[in-house]
Amino acid sequence: MIHADRIALLRQLCFGATAVACLLYAKLALWLDVPDPMIWWIPGALGAMSAAVMLLAGALAGDAQARMAYDALYASIQMCAGNFAFWAGIALAIAASVGAAQDLFLPEVGLATVGTGMAGVYLGLIAVMERRAGG
């Protein structure tokens, strides 16, 4: 049986890896000025894989352990990360719009940066905040 602490650790690793892939994609898109700086499906595939791993871990752990892993502390962290990511997403969208309007980069590059950047910020914050919560 998988313990709740193990699910939380797995979640940190999955979300952390997906966040790194998303942020790397966003950074490379801006740096290279192309909307697909790496194989385009890598961040999405990592996200889908993370979801599958979390679902499988929850199913193997059982209802009680899964509930413990997704308890009040996690809900609080998720809400806090969501709030921050929302405003980060707004800021990214504004920056991308201005950058594209000023011909600093292609509009497609801005779109790719906003899409992957916002996901990266959200998932990365969850992973970092869970890590910082310690325990």
Binding site: A4, D5, A8, A64, M68, A72, L73, A133, G134, G135
Partner: protein, 70 residues
């Protein structure tokens, strides 16, 4: 009016009952990390969780949690 910081005696009460963080977490249906963050005053629990902890420890919620200015 700003809210006063929340003090808690969770660690003391848990130790008095010979429970580990893992024992208390299991009984309350939360993760060990949640108990740890409450004890270290990093996380303020919801009313439901505070009442659950009081029930598990067999005491009144006011014995565990109190406002700093009380």
């Amino acid at each position: 009016m700003s809210a006063a910081p929340l003090h808690n005696r969770l660690k003391v009460l848990r130790a008095e009952r010979g429970m580990t963080q893992a024992d208390l977490a299991e009984a309350a249906g939360v993760s060990r990390k949640t108990i740890n963050t409450i004890e270290n005053r990093v996380f303020v629990p919801s009313t439901v969780l505070a009442l659950t902890l009081a029930r598990v420890l067999g005491c009144a919620v006011e014995e565990i949690f109190s406002l700093a200015d009380e």
